[in-house]
Amino acid sequence: MSAQVRVVSGGLSTTVQDLGRTGRYAIGMPPSGAMDQFSFRVANLLVGNPEGAAALEATYIGPTLEFTDERIVAVTGGDAAVTLNGEPVPMWASTRVTSGDVLAFGMITTGARPYIAVSGGVAVPEYLGSRSTYTLIGLGGHEGRTLTDGDVLPLGDASGGTQGAVVPDDLVPQFPSDVEVRAVVGLCSYRLTENALESFLGTPWRITKDADRVGYRLRGGTLDFVEREQPFGAGSDPANVVDLGYPLGSIQVPGGDEPIVLLGDAVTGGGYVTIATVISVDRDLFGQAKTGDTIRFRDVGIDEALAARADRTRWLDRIRSALA
């Protein structure tokens, strides 16, 4: 029998993810993939997998998993009380499991999404070059959907991975509930008044219940648009533009009072005004932000965005060396 992991309980919303299904944005296919790509990569590093191997992403309440052979597993991301056969196991560390062992989760305490990597990776079939689940159209992952009780997931051949690998404390990311997010203002920000743009950057935005892998809807202020005669084809509402492509991480403001930040399962285009784009490394912050948390946006230029990207690469390099 080939190796499997049995899903005793699916948790609140657990999916198979990898680094994403890139290159098909032009037909409207978002990349999907892990919402917090940093924690995801580290989980794979801990179990000796390639960083892009498929793993599980849980939301708020993790799954309960029963293993059928000997593996190395690791949990990273949002903090939850993780147990193996009822005994606590540390996060950001690798643990050996054997046939019949059960990994379970308590309620999340900080962050939003734990990642569970298993040596050998989750071996669901690739679809259009990726194993990521895109539930909106029921594609990829395990039958295109979130995991439910009784599902059985195939595992790949376990190669490397050692028990007891630990990410040094100073390299573990923190997930505060009041988050500063760096964004490049632009796109169609000319539609906002100067006051509105200032207000956008000055407002602590609260994450609403409408916050999922597609995007996070925020509340906390109202943004006024510059008055104009609407251009042909845009639609008469001041928040309308001629439908255009939405960058991943872009922030749209339908109605002017509910900014929506687009994430991994993003809608790829549409006709609402977009005013800024979250820089790529800070998209990860939304993977660990939850309903009720507060988001503050800080305007950065392209150079600072690139510097942040380089910082993130160095951080990951330090973890790679620490675990090598």
Partner: protein, 299 residues
Amino acid sequence: MSQPVQLPPARYEHGGDEFIFVEIAEEMSMEANIKATLITQELENRQMSGLVDICPSNASYLVRFDPDVVPPAELMGLLKDLEGRFQEVPEGFTLQTRVVDVPVLYNDPWTHEAMMRFRDRHQDPESTDLEYGARTNGFDSVEAFIEHLAGNPWIVTMLGFVPGLPFCYQLEPRERQVQVPKYVRPRTFTPERAFGIGGAFSVVYPVQGAGGYQLYGMSATPVLNVRQDHPDFDHSIVFPRAGDILRYRSVDRAEFDDTRREVEAGTFRYRQHDVEFSPAAFLDDPQGVNDRLLEVLYR
């Protein structure tokens, strides 16, 4: 040949560190769309490493790239150079494309139900979407409005929102084109295959989900087929391609149900014809070109 319409210079914006957004014009026009098509086709042809996605849009385009491979400033420079090379439509430019018949049940029960659930997000909660569109576009009746929407072909100028959703622009002279706003706040539910209009664009929603367009009907046929178990989806999970010319023909309930049965049985084939479409010829004589397109489709 008519004089090419001059467009204002494009606007270049960084979408974070991985995207560049280029707005060719704030308003929609065939000219702006063709310019986006020409630039993105040229970019495709170059097969540059580091380019992840090239997405032509209605009057703009979007590029995703890996800034570790292509520095953003360098890519920005290249895109500006390309704009300089496509100031007007090249002489004799044509699109090799298809004209396709899409059977639509207008004023259907399913989109009607969905629309009524979200009246609080609409500009005019007292009207239906069809009544509102008919009135604000100067039509005497909902029937006349539907006849207008169904009577002429539309050209696919962008794919996106979700996989396979075609944004379609009316192949009509500007003064005959209809326009409606998008919902004040997007709906959280739209039925699969709903046909709707927002701004100057019509769409078919590939799957159930959120949406902000006015809801007018339902297509009998899919635009997305993830399992690829329909013959028209052999080569791709999505049917429409940019440049396709679609006619959203009004059908009655009996034909709609018959077509649904064929789709369910996997025997349905879109009625379609390959055509060469000349934007310049269309801009010169819209009605003549429309008549010929429909003649080719139904002969």
